[in-house]
Symmetry: C2
């Protein structure tokens, strides 16, 4: 069965956390909104006219007739199917807890450029964004990165992993988190990275996985840009 | 086995979504931070010195030696154990998707009074809060409430439920969401409620469940106040 991933075209966004898992597993999937007519299909599915529960927003995944909303929930659903999560309940729930911490962090990263409202342009909330980004870089970035670094420190041996001794979707998401932060805040990250050697090592380790490497070089990987979650506005960064 | 819930004392907060499920199920639990020495125990558990994964923030639940972080993840874990979630995987994942939508909404509600940073006082981000709350009431409140109302409309028959024909933890969370919004934004909610008759009906229905009714009248139920997620600042509301 081919998985159908529904996410906005043109940005890596929250869909990317799912794409990385599908790619690493070599799963058969379609990135629907990037196909002909796919955007209209995605919008129709959110109109909530059919039986069952329609998602409020992308990303969502369709597996046969079953729909799953939210990146973290999709990864919970796919984790065992793709061999990228612990098999026992405790392990699955623990991995999901880490992924929800990543979700919280991603929401805060997004709000550095949209502290007032998603419907407003960045330019119309730039003063507030300057204040929020400053607070974010001062307090929230080290809080979250420090948390993940400690987890990697406790868990890693020869290979760096967030959980257990093998690759999980959490590792793939942490790879992308570092990629995105480097794009959005290159000045702050250059200064910060020496404090997080295992996050840096995990990023490099994931980037060398053969399937991830091939994916990153392909057209399926969308570049970061100023429409997504991770945006580079130099005035929000530290020099 | 007694469940241990860890959450800040003094506010309903995100812990309340878990408390309501435990209370409705008549589960044996301790609200640890509200017991003698409980706050110190909670803080120690977040220090991440032990094996396994420590949570970054409350709420978290301890079941024997197993720790679960994040309100929605705790409800995913407890749902079947408490008889408050569908038993099949598709139902569990669907309920969790709705709960994660509630989680997203709760984060936006929180940020109406803290749009710049959690470490700053409200008074130090009041100008930004005025703008964010205006945008929230204009666009986000109807978006989320409309979404849940449509779901209730599609799913409800004689009784109002978010999923299937029986009570789930999603119904309990939607009850609390309406309670909190009424406290925080009484003016806006008085104006809005006629548009969401099933959310209003579900709120009343849940409030009359015998165990919930007893809980709400007990000292275990903490009052809303200006330290939590749902805060009443008249200047952020609509008259």
């Amino acid at each position: 069965m081919t998985y159908e991933l529904y996410y906005w075209d043109g940005i890596p966004g929250r869909g990317e956390f799912v794409r990385l898992a599908l790619e690493q597993a070599g799963a058969d999937y379609v990135d629907v909104a990037r196909t002909d007519g796919g955007m209209a299909r995605m919008m129709a599915m959110m109109k909530n006219k059919t039986a069952g529960v329609a998602p409020l927003a992308p990303p969502f995944l369709r597996d046969g007739e079953f729909l799953v909303s939210h990146a973290a929930n999709i990864l919970l659903y796919l984790g065992n199917r793709l061999g990228l999560a612990p098999e026992d309940e405790a392990g699955r729930i623990t991995a999901h807890g880490l992924q929800l911490t990543i979700t919280d962090f991603v929401a805060e990263i997004h709000d550095t450029h949209h502290p007032i409202g998603v419907s407003l342009y960045y330019e119309d909330q730039k003063d507030e964004a300057l204040r929020r980004a400053e607070n974010f870089l001062e307090e929230r970035l080290p809080k979250f990165l420090g948390y993940f670094e400690r987890q990697l420190t406790k868990n890693s041996h020869r290979q760096v992993h967030a959980l257990g001794g093998t690759l999980t979707y959490v590792d793939l998401s942490l790879f992308h988190l570092v990629e995105g932060l480097r794009y959005a805040f290159p000045g702050a990250m250059t200064a910060a990275e020496p404090d997080y050697p295992l996050l840096v090592a995990l990023n490099a380790q994931v980037s060398h996985l053969p399937r991830i490497k091939a994916y990153l070089a392909s057209e399926r990987r969308l570049a970061f840009n100023e429409q997504g979650i991770f945006r580079h506005y130099p005035e929000l960064d530290r020099s």
